[in-house]
């Protein structure tokens, strides 16, 4: 069985790098994207995404369009946000996110979540 593909979106280079490295270490197939352009490119190139982790920090409203597109594709996704505010949560959930994860993430918890979503 091939590794599960996870779209990882983060504008900030080091954050993207850390998330990607972590998922890679755990045996997943992370697809990093640091801009809307890269998100679009990934969505075009693969139709076998199993999941998405989206850090919305630094993106404008356009990121929410992509969220909707991902939801429509039937791919479960989580929003990563610097703060847990009612507004961010409402927006995320209304766009189809499974939940909002607040930074900093705990590696153990993140792994558990990914495992549950991917039905492992």
């Amino acid at each position: 069985m091939s590794a599960k593909a996870i779209l990882v979106v983060a504008k900030h280079g080091k954050n993207l790098h850390l998330l990607t490295d972590f998922l890679d270490d755990q045996g997943y197939d992370p697809w990093p994207a640091s801009s809307i352009k890269e998100v679009d490119k990934t969505l075009r190139e693969t139709d076998t995404l199993d999941m998405a982790l989206i850090d919305v920090t630094g993106f404008g409203d356009s990121i929410w369009d992509r969220c909707e597109r991902i939801r429509k594709g039937g791919v479960p996704f989580f929003i990563i946000s610097p703060r847990k505010t009612g507004k961010a949560e409402e927006k995320s959930l209304s766009k189809g996110a499974r939940d909002v994860l607040t930074k900093p993430l705990e590696k153990k918890r993140l792994l558990k979540l990914v495992e549950i979503i991917l039905g492992e």
Binding site: A10, H12, G13, K14, N15, L18, L19, F22, D55, I80, P82, K103, P104, L105, E106, K107
Partner: protein
């Protein structure tokens, strides 16, 4: 590993080995505590530099300053880091660029493993005899739980211990982040303190060895750190005979029943200008003539003035200084703490073989020495003199020129074995000086006063004033005068 006294690891700091009775116990872990700017890093650097001198391998793990800053700072102190392995784990400037910062995971989850790994790798590579970690508390920020930090610290110090290293580490503390856990885990604690007027070093814990207690003085200047241990009164040394130091003035020696005994402390007390310093120098002159070295610590007067004043009364001190039997040390106000001064005196006694010490004056000492420990520090110093068989003369100025007798304003006669007092007397309308002995511990003494004069030919002392009554009031009467007056009436 090269070893110092008692198989100890020498610190490389003058005075600190003495406080630690030889140095650190090998393979142990020591905590250096203190606020910012108290000298913790410099202490660690001395420790490593000393290791390099002994051909030991030395590792500096820095979490705070960068390697470049460390090199600059040590150079400014006239020290050299050559030969020291530096593992730079400081948050260097590159960490603050956007590329290096992150918030997606907690630092403890990202950094902890690489850092501990990096430390262990470096330890394996260097195989150090001495390690200095500055500051270990940074590791605390990289662990999410207290117990994790403790475990890491313990495993690291065990790992280092197994490698045969002696470890020094510093902690940065605040009210929110105390270092109580580290204090329990360390084998020893050295605390550095700084106040407006002085720096101190205290040993608070030292497993497996005794150490010198007390607040020791600390200096930081070009050349680094220097510790002046608190002078601990020792037991009297055997082997010095009780001799009397004569003044060379027959009348004074008669009053003292021979002179001042070795290993005793004498207080010359009296008002200003009465002749205390002059008599002390007279004793020094006599000692110099016998070939004994005298050290005068001059707190009150300019040395040139003292010179010319003494020459004028036929006490040629410059000749004695040239001959090497007299040394005049001018002590400037706030130049030393009590400990630093005591160490200076100690060097003079132990290295130069000084036999007589004159402290001129106790009042100057009280004003000029940093910190307020007059009685305790003088007590320690005088105990030291007794232990070493030093003849000590302390001058003390009392504020009253005439009037009711008072031995001292400062309540210090208790520390003296002998008290010689001077005073002004008004006799038949003339102001005269008198000298007397108030107490003498080792021998008997003459109980009457004698007239005392300072002349160009030297000090002159008259016959006992046995006919005077009411001397201690300052306005005595001749006994025979009052008798004859009675007869006349």
């Amino acid at each position: 590993m090269a070893e110092g006294r008692n198989g100890r690891v020498t610190t490389g700091i003058e005075g600190l080995d003495e406080v630690l009775t030889g140095g650190f116990v090998p393979h142990r872990t020591y905590l250096i505590r203190g606020a910012a700017g108290t000298g913790k890093t410099i202490l660690g650097l001395h420790f490593l530099i000393e290791g390099v001198k002994n051909d030991e391998s030395c590792l500096f793990i820095t979490f705070s300053e960068t390697e470049e800053q460390i090199n600059q700072n040590t150079e400014a102190l006239g020290l050299d880091t050559e030969g020291i392995e530096i593992l730079d784990l400081s948050p260097g400037s590159e960490k603050f660029t956007e590329e290096e910062t992150y918030d997606v995971f907690h630092a403890s989850e990202v950094e902890q493993e690489p850092i501990v790994e990096e430390i262990k790798n470096r330890i394996d590579g260097v195989d150090p005899d001495r390690v200095f970690i500055d500051a270990i508390t940074i590791l605390r920020h990289l662990t999410s739980e207290q117990y994790q930090f403790r475990e890491q610290f313990l495993s690291l110090s065990k790992y280092l211990g197994k490698q045969g290293a002696t470890v020094l580490f510093t902690s940065e503390t605040s009210l929110q982040n105390p270092d109580t856990d580290l204090q329990f885990m360390a084998d020893g604690i050295i605390e550095l303190n700084r106040s407006d007027r002085s720096r101190t070093l205290t040993v608070n814990k030292f497993r497996g060895s005794n150490y010198q207690e007390g607040k020791h003085s600390l200096e930081i200047n070009c050349g680094g750190l220097k510790v002046s241990p608190w002078l601990v009164p020792e037991k009297a040394e055997e082997g010095f005979s009780k001799e009397s130091l004569a003044s060379g003035i027959p009348e004074v020696d008669e009053m003292l029943h021979g002179g001042l005994e070795t290993g005793t402390v004498t207080l010359f007390t009296g008002p200003s200008g009465v002749g205390k310093t002059s008599l002390a120098l007279q004793f020094a002159k006599e000692a110099a003539g016998r070939g004994d070295r005298t050290a005068v610590y001059n707190f009150d007067e300019d040395t040139d003035l003292l010179n010319s004043r003494s020459e004028a009364i036929n006490i040629p001190i410059s000749k004695m200084v040239e001959g090497g039997n007299l040394v005049i040390n001018e002590v400037k106000p706030l130049e030393f703490t009590a400990n630093q001064f005591a160490q200076r005196v100690r060097r003079e006694v132990e290295k130069e073989g000084t036999k007589i010490v004159v402290l001129d004056s106790v009042n100057g000492y009280d004003l000029g020495i940093k910190g307020k420990q007059l009685q305790k520090s003088l007590y320690n110093l005088t105990q030291y003199f007794r232990a070493k068989g030093i003849t000590a003369i302390l001058t003390n100025e009392v504020s009253k020129i005439t009037g009711e007798f008072q031995a001292s304003d400062m309540d210090i006669t208790v520390i003296a074995d002998n008290v010689v007092f001077f005073r002004y007397l008004e006799i038949e309308g003339k102001l005269k000086k008198a000298i007397g002995v108030l107490k003498k511990r080792v021998s008997d003494f003459e109980r009457s006063l004698r007239e005392f004069e300072i002349t160009e030919h030297g000090l002159k002392v008259g016959a006992p004033m046995e006919d005077l009554r009411g001397i201690l009031s300052g306005q005595p009467d001749w006994e025979r005068n009052s008798d004859s007056e009675k007869k006349e009436t």
